[in-house]
């Protein structure tokens, strides 16, 4: 079972409550110093949470018009917490040995709460590339979504209030034992109380301007650590409940794997055309069987009391799933005779796509041991009443199929990214025999013609779009069937039903930058406003993997200065034009785009191919052009 943010938050809350309501702290100087140390840790962690959700300086928070209304209060609270942290810092080490359990129970609760809060923040950070805020998992857009930001502010406000109470209590103790606690420490604690009160007050204001719902908090608490969950082994015969849980487990693993393999196709021997082709066939089968089950239960929807439009909704989802199947089948055809220099079903996702085929098949058919080879051995399809006897069962089934479709959309986006990378690294080949006679090559394989690769990439783009549409349609049905948002695929859970009902194709793509222009939005959840768009210089730094906050801040300042300069130039040009002078100024966008956007492309050499495959690294672009079918 993967740990969730809710586990950490609940543990922290219990310890803070125990510290407040439990036995009073021992009236000793040592206990007071140890408590001050833990309060320092707690205040520091809370300020870091706020830095994560509102990474702006005070001036920027107040002057920028792009930011949501709650940001100035959150930034103010963060500054107050930082000052409280500084006030609580003590040169005196706690009396207990490092790593030992504190002897005082209140101090022990404070220490445990600080550890849990810190672990909770670490858990959220696992969804980003190390040292950056670049997305590293399917949950990353959820973590920096407006929904979760709102819920996190609410939690931090609650913790800050408790911290204020506890600091006051420790201050009382230090006054009691003033003979062991020198005056400067009283002043520091009093100072900290002052700043903590200020922070709590600012956070209350932020809460009021950005009210949270129970669903928001539920989603925050459901965020898991970014780990690939354990595989759920097939153990036939599995009940429908087991099969559905297994489908969700496999889908979750597939999404996690898709997020982690970025960049590996350039060099990894595990990234093979055999794996991509197998996954493509599996995706078509999963989509086809899903479509059948949706049509099957749509015919039964009239027997349920709610939702009233269940039948048409299920039919629409079935249509979207059928389209996904069609597009996946086109990918299998487009692959043709392409191959990589390494072969075999070696990719990480193979096991899970196979599990998904088997479980979706065993859900669709009555045979508990169903597999593709048993298709002609008197298998029978499950009847609609068996699949979904009532509304509750239908909602669970739709939720599982939604997870499967969403996972396929992620897999398609990852494959599009990886196949493109493999092509750029010249890892895609075709048997020489399939090339026109103009190719006079003494090898069994030769580099794939660009047109062949383009056909595969185009087919994948359509599969990404169609699968995302299917996932969205199924998500919309799931919401109408009262499936909790936290139980949906993360992307859907963050955007919510209102968005999902009205979202167009542009919102349908997985929140992962695959480098394509079709239906794949930029990283982030649509509607997220916690972070304004990065400018070209900031993007360039991010592309270089820079995590230095000073550099990033400077990049932001340069971008802003550039924007201002362009705006000034534009207004100047308007004035010149108005005064009758010749106007010849390029668009501001063009000027902005002249900045470097990313690291200089470095060509990573793929591994040396097996003996029959020629080493063609030295081939010039001109030669490549000449050798391509269209190159003459």
């Amino acid at each position: 079972m993967t740990a969730t943010f809710g586990d950490m938050a609940e543990r922290a809350g219990l310890h803070l409550d125990a510290a407040i309501t439990g036995p009073a702290m021992a009236p000793t100087g040592e206990a007071a110093i140890a408590a001050g140390h833990e309060l320092h840790r707690l205040a520091r962690t809370l300020s870091r949470y706020l830095r994560d959700v509102a990474p702006y300086d005070e001036v920027e928070a107040v002057t920028s018009q792009d930011l949501p209304g709650w940001v100035p209060d959150a930034v103010g609270a963060r500054e107050a917490l930082q000052r409280a942290t500084a006030s609580l810092r003590t040169d005196s080490a706690p009396g207990d040995a490092p790593g030992a359990e504190p002897t005082d129970s209140t101090v022990a609760h404070l220490a445990a709460a600080a550890t849990s809060l810190s672990a909770g923040r670490d858990l959220l950070h696992t969804h980003f590339a190390e040292g950056t805020r670049l997305d590293h998992s399917e949950w990353a857009p959820v973590v920096h979504s407006e929904t979760v930001t709102r819920a996190l502010l609410e939690e931090v406000a609650g913790w800050s209030g408790k911290l204020t109470l506890l600091t006051n209590a420790v201050l009382s103790i230090t006054w009691t034992v003033h003979h062991v606690s020198p005056a400067p420490e009283h002043l520091s604690l009093a100072d900290a109380c002052h700043w903590l009160l200020g922070a709590t007050s600012a956070l209350q204001k932020a809460r009021l301007s950005n009210p949270v719902t129970a669903a928001d908090t539920e989603l925050l608490m459901a965020i898991p650590a970014n780990l690939i969950p354990d595989r759920r082994l097939l153990q036939p015969p599995e009940s429908i409940t087991d099969l559905i849980e297994g489908i969700v487990a496999s889908a979750t693993r597939l999404r996690a794997i898709a997020s982690r393999t970025s960049g590996q196709a350039v060099w990894s021997p595990a990234a093979t055309t055999d794996s991509w082709k197998h996954t493509t066939t599996a995706a078509a089968i999963i989509s086809h069987l899903s479509e059948h089950m949706l049509r099957s239960i749509a015919g039964r929807a009239g027997q349920w009391h709610r939702p009233q439009d269940a039948g048409p909704l299920l039919q629409a989802a079935a249509e979207a799933t059928a389209e996904a199947c069609t597009q996946w089948r086109k990918v299998t055809v487009a692959w043709g005779d392409l191959c990589t220099e390494t072969r075999g079903l070696t990719a990480l996702e193979i096991t899970d796509t196979s599990d998904l085929v088997l479980r979706v098949g065993r859900l669709a058919f009555t045979d508990p041991d169903w597999n593709p080879s048993s298709a002609r051995k008197a298998v029978s399809l499950r009847k609609p009443a068996g699949l979904a006897p009532d509304h509750a069962h239908a909602s669970v089934l739709v939720g599982a199929l939604h997870h499967a479709a969403d996972a396929l959309a992620r897999v398609a986006a990852a494959a599009l990214r990886d196949v493109g990378a493999a092509a750029r690294a010249q890892r895609l080949y075709v048997p020489t025999r399939t090339l026109p006679d103009t190719y006079d090559i003494p090898y069994r394989y030769w580099h794939a013609p660009p047109a062949t690769v383009d056909a595969v990439l185009s087919a994948y783009k359509e599969a990404v779009h169609a699968s995302a549409q299917a996932a969205m349609a199924l998500g919309a049905v799931a919401v109408r069937f009262d499936v909790p948002r936290a139980a949906l695929a993360p992307r859907m859970a963050a955007t919510g039903p209102a968005h999902s009902a009205s979202a167009g194709p542009a919102a349908a793509g997985p929140a992962e930058d695959t480098g394509t222009t079709r239906s794949v939005p930029a990283s982030g959840v649509p509607g997220t406003v916690t972070r304004p768009h990065a400018g070209p210089v900031e993007r360039a730094l991010c592309g270089l993997g820079s995590a230095n906050p000073v550099l990033l801040l400077r990049a932001k300042a340069i971008d802003k200065a550039g924007q201002k300069l362009i705006a000034e130039a534009r207004s100047e040009s308007v004035r010149i034009e108005d005064s009758g002078h010749v106007r010849n100024i390029s668009a501001p966008a063009k000027a902005a785009e002249s900045f470097p956007h990313g690291p200089r492309t470095s060509v990573s050499l793929p591994p040396q191919p097996a003996a029959p495959v020629p080493n063609l690294r030295g081939r010039s672009a001109e030669q490549a052009e000449r050798l391509s079918p269209g190159g003459g």
Binding site: D274, K277, H278, T281, A284, I285, H288, L289, H292, R329, T332, V333, W335, G336, D337, C339, V357, G361, A364, F365, P372, S373, S374, A375, R376, K377, V379, L381, P431, R433, T434, R444, Y445, P612
Partner: protein, 145 residues
């Protein structure tokens, strides 16, 4: 029409070992047999929910078998440029599946037999691997009583 094509290709496979250049004839016939399997499986996929998965994986195996044979050194040079066959699936899908399973079984036997006779390691590997893919097609489409 597809049944006739399957019969013709079966006849070519059976006759290939008797040809002057038996290996080249076997490889050429096997390549065309994989082509027929691939095109017919793809055309049949959507005609049955029950058989979709079997036909889809069978098509994938046929495509792989075809790909393997394209690298066999003794495959005649004119072979391989035609990548699809115009399959016209007849009404009874069960009959088609039976015929395809039968063809795949025959194909696997002939390729295994050829692999035992050839000297060239490239041809040997191609025949062995392609025979395995044909056996996979047979396994997916056979009734398995």
């Amino acid at each position: 029409m597809v049944m006739q094509e399957i019969e013709d290709i079966r006849a070519r496979l059976e006759a290939a070992p008797l040809a002057a250049d038996a290996l080249a004839a076997t490889l050429a016939a096997a390549l065309d047999a994989f082509g027929v399997l691939l095109a017919t499986c793809r055309d049949s996929e959507e005609r049955s929910v029950e058989l979709f998965a079997a036909f889809a994986f069978a098509a994938a195996a046929a495509a792989e078998g075809r790909h393997i044979l394209l690298t066999a050194p003794s495959l005649p040079s004119a072979q391989g440029l035609v990548t699809s066959h115009a399959a016209c699936v007849q009404a009874d899908l069960e009959v088609t599946a039976d015929a395809l399973a039968d063809l795949a079984g025959t194909l696997s036997r002939h390729l295994s037999s050829a692999a035992r006779r050839v000297q060239d390691p490239g041809d040997h590997a191609a025949c062995c691997d392609a025979a395995r893919e044909a056996a996979r097609v047979h396994e997916l489409l056979a009734r398995g009583d």
